[in-house]
Symmetry: C3
Subunit: 264 residues, 3 copies
């Protein structure tokens, strides 16, 4: 698995996919930088009039609802509909799922547009599972067990998508197979938008790796390894944010292969 992931890392540096992002204001600079650092090319555009043109040239789409409002939600829906036409992959980041009724309503609408991959933290994925109870009784038991793993597996089945729950241990499930990524450092949770960065990277590998489970595992693995290696000379969250960008760019095969912990 690690060798395949390392190959995907090299492959992306060559392929330099164009990734369309409709994301939140807080993280735009960092996610654009993270995409550039791994060798991808970010597009950040949200005007209704140009969504269609952008998705002709982009190879994948990332939708992150972090700072959503009515205009941006319409952009997101237009983009998800457009990407479907082109059979290109798209990733949904359900930031703040469960925090407001508006956010949950928008998420239901976006889920209906069939994301290829959904990446959130445990609380967000649990909130999505709860939303889904109106449609699927199978999720009730998941909620009762309060385990994000079970929620992810169930939701992946229900929606026929790949679900990634990021945390100390990342879980990536497609309803049949589950991959675990165990790297990173708790200090990454003190840097804003690390989850959003993960989602953007997932979008990049989804553009060039046909298996969505493997694409997601690749992104989660490189980001968490970059975080773990970058921590060595990062006394706090400010330097960590900066050094992770460096590591995403210059991580060596040795650093990656010696550090990565990925298993099914």
């Amino acid at each position: 698995m690690k060798n395949k992931i390392w190959e995907n890392i090299l492959k992306l540096r060559e392929a330099s996919p164009l990734v369309q992002n409709i994301t939140n204001y807080v993280v735009m600079n960092n996610t654009a930088n993270a995409l550039l650092a791994i060798g991808a090319s970010p597009i950040m555009a949200h005007a209704h009039s140009e969504i269609s043109d952008m998705l002709k040239i982009a190879q994948s789409l990332v939708i992150n609802i972090g700072t959503l409002d009515e205009y941006w939600v319409k952009s997101m829906k237009l983009a998800a509909q457009e990407v479907e036409k082109h059979k290109k992959p798209w990733v949904l980041d359900p930031v703040g799922a469960g925090a407001s009724a508006y956010r949950d309503q928008v998420l239901l609408e976006l889920l209906a547009l069939r994301p290829s991959i959904v990446r959130g933290n445990a609380s967000e994925i649990m909130a999505l599972a709860k939303l889904n109870t109106h449609q699927s009784k199978g999720v009730d038991s998941t909620m009762a067990s309060h385990e994000a793993l079970a929620a992810a597996q169930q939701l992946a089945k229900d929606w026929q998508t790949v679900v990634c729950v990021s945390g100390a241990k990342d879980v990536i499930a497609d309803g049949q197979k589950t991959i675990y990524v165990e790297n990173g450092t708790p200090l990454m949770t003190q840097v804003t938008g690390m989850g959003c960065t993960a989602t953007a990277l997932v979008g990049a590998w989804a553009a060039i790796v046909p298996d969505m489970l493997e694409a997601t595992a690749t992104a989660m693995s490189i980001l968490s390894v970059a975080g773990e290696v970058a921590l060595r000379n990062s006394p706090g969250p400010g330097t960590l944010q900066v050094n992770i960008l460096d590591k995403l760019h210059n991580l060596s095969a040795e650093e990656y292969l010696q550090t990565a912990v990925v298993y099914e």
Copy 2:
């Protein structure tokens, strides 16, 4: 005073308050990072439909008018009205007060919604004082003296709020008592949004310290000490911005207590 402030610093790391921010595009990443670095949890959300839900879970609110427009101003007013219902504290950052008639009009409307704390630089607080002359003759003399200190004290009385004027020496006044903070470094003025970061931190401590004067002094003191300590290995404003985040996160009791200059 310094010991009480240090206790507040430790207390916040434990309490991890949820702070709702309606702030400007320029600084969102940095203020979110600063809130995370001190141990708080930022929410950044502005959609009219979810303001009410967010303020049910947030423990305080920060309104910063930096890149205001009609939509965002409505978000700000909705939020200030909502927070009033819940009797939670809110902080106003009057960015660019005096620079446009629109900005001043919006500030008058927000001031009428009774912020718990107002934090600005001398020129912004002086501009607010000038605005207020239509309502209070007492301010005329303040303006004549061109002293931000007198303006702050007068305005705090007029509005029954806490007013913080940040600068080489920060002044925090509630109309009766005045606290001074003398730390920081001039290089902080070359980093965008340092004032906005200060306001966000004020919002965090306002969530857990009942005395608004003390909450404000705590935020201003830790930020200026972090800046002063961070300067030691920051050759310019780029590294200073990053190292301040590190210091907000890992400032030790020794570093804080040996460096801080705070007095009434």
Copy 3:
């Protein structure tokens, strides 16, 4: 030329011009920081109601269409019209020219409002040249040659503006004279918004240097030298972004004069 540029650098630190920016969400923090680092004062404001007031106090205007939408496009047009009344310089950054029909339409409308300077990368300037073929047959041959240099020179003549094509070698043309800047490092292309930063700096020098060609050359030269010097202790794009801000702030005469390569 280098000595004149160095004088302009010192002059700006004294003059501290106020630069109004209507720019994209991705780069706002960095461009504000870059402007502060060279000694300028950024204004970031886009509300229709305050554009006119802001352009009374600003000394130049930067318009960057990166994350444009209908509201922001109206802000841009209002600003370009307003700045014309005050005979102040303005700079256009045609981010993503050619990527969507909407973007190209907006660019034609903005070009009609006569920017003092246009700065883009080769692909953007070539796209503008293509747009312009509807109006000027002279550009057809330019497009055939597929050379950004010729495109820049022709477009500068057609529009009576200064055109800067940034790249490994920056080309700055006013239709008569052409200046070349050969500094920088390829790693700068892995940092988001370096071009946008260049445009913001061009706006700053345009505020204080009457000759637009010289103002542009000054900005391009200091940024590329800062990048080249900053690279020495930047192992990747994260640290490079930060260290460039430091260097914009503290570049010495020796560092600048020994490194800069500028010629006509």
